[in-house]
Symmetry: C2
Subunit: 206 residues, 2 copies
Amino acid sequence: MQSRTSPTRAGRPRSAAADAAILAATRAALVELGWSKLTLGDVATRAGVAKTTLYRRWAGKNELVVDAVAELFDELRLPDRGSLAADIEGVVLQFAAILARPEAKSGLMAVVAESTRDEALRERIRASIVERQKRLVLEGRARAQARGELPLEEHPEEASRTADLIFDVVAGAVVHRTLFSAEPADEEWVRSFTRVLLTGLSSSTP
Amino acid sequence: MQSRTSPTRAGRPRSAAADAAILAATRAALVELGWSKLTLGDVATRAGVAKTTLYRRWAGKNELVVDAVAELFDELRLPDRGSLAADIEGVVLQFAAILARPEAKSGLMAVVAESTRDEALRERIRASIVERQKRLVLEGRARAQARGELPLEEHPEEASRTADLIFDVVAGAVVHRTLFSAEPADEEWVRSFTRVLLTGLSSSTP
DNA sequence: CCATTACGCTACGGGTCGTAGCGTAAGCGT
DNA sequence: ACGCTTACGCTACGACCCGTAGCGTAATGG
């Protein structure tokens, strides 16, 4: 008596190759058409599957694009460059490089916009993108604390809040720079940003 | 021989009341329907004008929503609370309050997403929202320098770059907190954020 | 009063949506 | 090997929205 979501169900299994083809086709369509002109019929054609197959796996455009974009951010790695400042610069540059890609820009912003009116979608984004990359902050902090570059927190609850804050500041700054100000988050900018993040505005000299 | 965009042209003038009604109707529709389900026909009905009138003034949904949302951010004021930290907290809380409104969330993010594939739209956003509110950073910095809380910059070019950076950090953090992390930018969060912004991560104790 | 521009209204072809229905393909258990 | 079950491809469909054309009417300025 296996539940209906049992690991091995009866019947023909879903094609894993189709999943990959659909997500890749979605990203390609995002590059060429952008969010608003992207149609599920077009994605299905690009992926070589029927439109109905697509609807059997995803509830709609929103969910599909979340999954397609989430894969992009899994490339992120925290490099060990010897100092907290250098580590931050490294990971921020990677994040900026991903956000510079057109499929990431248009896709991510659009689904976030939709998520403001769709609780389930918001949770999907949080789980598969935001929360998933928060690991980088935790890793970086632990490494810096081991080096003695950051003070050790005694209260784990406050440590968690601080990590969330850092994530919002770092990711938010890159997003705003790239999309709102529409200027590249290049090495020079990242250096300036890292300096402000570590030493604050009140610090005197460059 | 007046140019065709002369201050007083011949013929019936456009109704200013219609403009206001349309923008208000757009915001109301954003609240009730969100971006994706918002239709121009519906906005026209709400505003009590014909759909064709709407198309005579705006090229499409994108431009309309930019103008409707831009008005929201004109409420922002920089309060004089006596210290840089308090000034920042005050303006960030105002910004957070605006971003908490559903019409701001869904509208702003959606047009930013579209702007990644539309140069003219990007410029419209930059001019009527981003660049327009950068005044707050310049005002705050000048005030803080007068108080001696911030060092005076000698090179105006670098001062400009720093102002842009601050704007990206502040606005980006609030946007990310509100929309990506989907948690409120309340007073406690704003205090923590301001402390990090002013003193940096390396500073020891709260 | 006349030229000019804005407005309201109706109607239209074109496109996308999301689903239903059906025949076929691919694994699983006996 | 055979049936059971589920996935897939294909077609067709009503519903909806888009953006525009056309026309008669309303409101200004000279």
